[in-house]
């Protein structure tokens, strides 16, 4: 496997970029593995990587129905931050952000992490109180957070309309300077390449159609490419978690919804931070290609169709123009949808399921991308040890029985 470096780049440029090696193998699935991971998105691939690296379990297959990173990993708005309100969330998202900060070096793959700062705007006194409270909560948890008054905000992001005459005047904002964006495809590809290098089989075009369960213990999975035995099976399938768990006889507190995003035509650099607004509800950043990348809330109805309704993005653009009148003449280029699995408290579900040897990492809903490295890291620990990682423990499925919910609806700095 080629180690990427400036020297490799120069050598490949010299030969016309025709000899770059493939990044991962395309193996036929073996009849049995120690661990089978269902879902080749960022979270599943990261789990495989950390299983091999941290726990010495390389006899792992990642089964992906389509192509890796083709689901929500390739459909999100690439925002990375850790400024969550509650201690449990702050701990796991900050764990993730710390891993992000060393990820390009760790994977020898440029994930293009750009810590350009994430603003969460406040538009009324309720928002201001919530924002200031969250800043203090973040600081107590060792997470960088600042409160910006409108004048400071205007200096930080000059194109934002902070005039008192605005329909929804901006009264201030929280700022996490370590937040920003990362390249979504690169995260999947980087983890895939690094996991493959350690012996993990990444099997694409392989759909799981059933589970083999004997005496309350999982023995393997039935797939479109034949039966695969496994000691442990991990479900990391985002919007399809409920469908898979139902095959194993497990009911989940999840509802699948479309979440839409869209990009504008590319323009010259105009927005050098991430701006999120809960109240008028849009989040915007500018990609390295110059496109403005935007997202908002989910479509209200349940769906697996990877598309939503037009009035959702119409509202989203109205919110965008409210904040940035300067974008009035931009044309939108593409829009798409992903299927997100929303849990009742907007927090993920990580841990063992009632079937022995079966694990779930899901319920990330609208905010899973930022958690990719941390999610994979704690989930690999949970699978390898058969007991939850300390950061994952509060996120067990059991909390819906005990009532110890981690209610990040509204508290997570963006509505869902």
């Amino acid at each position: 496997m080629t180690q990427f470096s400036l020297l490799t780049l120069a050598r490949e440029a010299w030969t016309g970029h025709r000899r770059w090696p493939v990044l991962w193998r395309d193996p036929h699935p073996k009849p049995a593995y120690s661990v089978v991971i269902i879902g080749g998105g960022g979270h599943g691939l990261a789990t495989a990587y950390y299983l091999a690296k941290e726990h010495g379990i390389a006899d792992v297959a990642v089964l992906e129905r389509g192509w890796i990173g083709g689901g929500n990993t390739g459909r999100n708005t690439t925002i990375v931050r850790s400024n969550y309100l509650w201690d449990e969330s702050a701990a796991i998202y900050e764990h993730s952000l710390k891993l992000w900060e060393g990820l390009s070096r760790e994977l020898n793959f440029n994930v293009m992490l750009s810590q350009r700062g994430v603003l969460n705007l406040a538009h009324d006194t309720g928002d201001v109180r919530e924002g200031r409270r969250r800043v203090e909560a973040n600081r107590l948890n060792g997470i960088d957070a600042e409160w910006l008054e409108p004048a400071e905000l205007s200096r930080f992001c000059p194109i934002l309309d902070v005039s008192p005459a605005a329909r929804y005047p901006v009264l201030g904002a929280t700022l996490q300077r370590r937040g920003g964006t990362a390249r979504h495809d690169a995260v999947a590809w980087g983890y895939a390449r690094a996991a493959d290098r350690r012996g993990v089989d990444i099997v694409q075009n392989c759909e799981v159609t059933g589970f083999f369960i004997e005496g309350g213990r999982v023995r393997g999975v039935e797939t479109s490419r034949g039966r695969i035995a496994a000691d442990k099976v991990a479900i990391v399938a985002a919007g399809h978690n409920s469908v898979l768990c139902r095959m194993a006889g497990v009911r989940l507190p999840l509802q699948s919804h479309p979440l839409q995003a869209l990009v504008s035509e590319p323009v010259k650099p105009i927005l050098d931070c991430v701006v999120m607004s809960n109240a008028v509800h849009v989040y915007v950043s500018q990609s390295d290609r110059g496109e403005l990348v935007m997202g908002a809330g989910i479509d209200a109805f349940a769906s697996y169709a990877q598309r939503g309704s037009f009035h959702i993005i119409e509202r989203e653009l109205a919110a965008c123009l409210e904040l940035f009148p300067i974008f009035g003449r931009l044309r939108m280029m593409r829009s798409w949808g992903g299927i997100v699995d929303i849990s009742p408290d907007a927090s993920p579900i990580i841990g063992p399921l009632p079937v022995e040897g079966l694990f779930l990492n899901g319920g990330w809903g609208t905010g899973g991308f930022k958690a990719t490295p941390g999610s994979g890291h704690v989930f690999a620990h949970t699978i390898a040890r058969g007991a939850p990682h300390p950061l994952a423990a509060p996120f067990a499925l059991e909390r819906f029985r005990s009532g110890a919910l981690i209610d990040e609806h509204g508290a997570a700095a963006v509505a869902h």
Binding site: H240, S242, V243, R246, R251, L252, P253, L254, Q255, S256, A300, F301, A302, S303, Y304, A305, S309, F310, H311, D341, P344, F400, R401, S402, G403
Partner: protein, 93 residues
Amino acid sequence: MLLIPCPWCGPRDEVEFAYGGEAHIARPADPDALDDAAWAEYLFMRANPKGTMRERWMHAAGCRRWFNLLRNTATHRIVAAYKIAEPPPADTE
């Protein structure tokens, strides 16, 4: 964008409606008899089917009445709408 056939008002645009999630979840007859697992099942656990789903909608910008819809979550095709007290029609897909 869905065109939803309200049983009272006829077909109307989706923006007129509010969504109410999975239908036919009956409130426990004897709440005092429920243990934590049964409460979790009632409050949180959902079928979340890929395919035909029975779901509640409310015509918020119209008659303001709740009704049920039989809709395919994979294709968005609406199979039938029926009133709250009526039994769900057979899935004709």
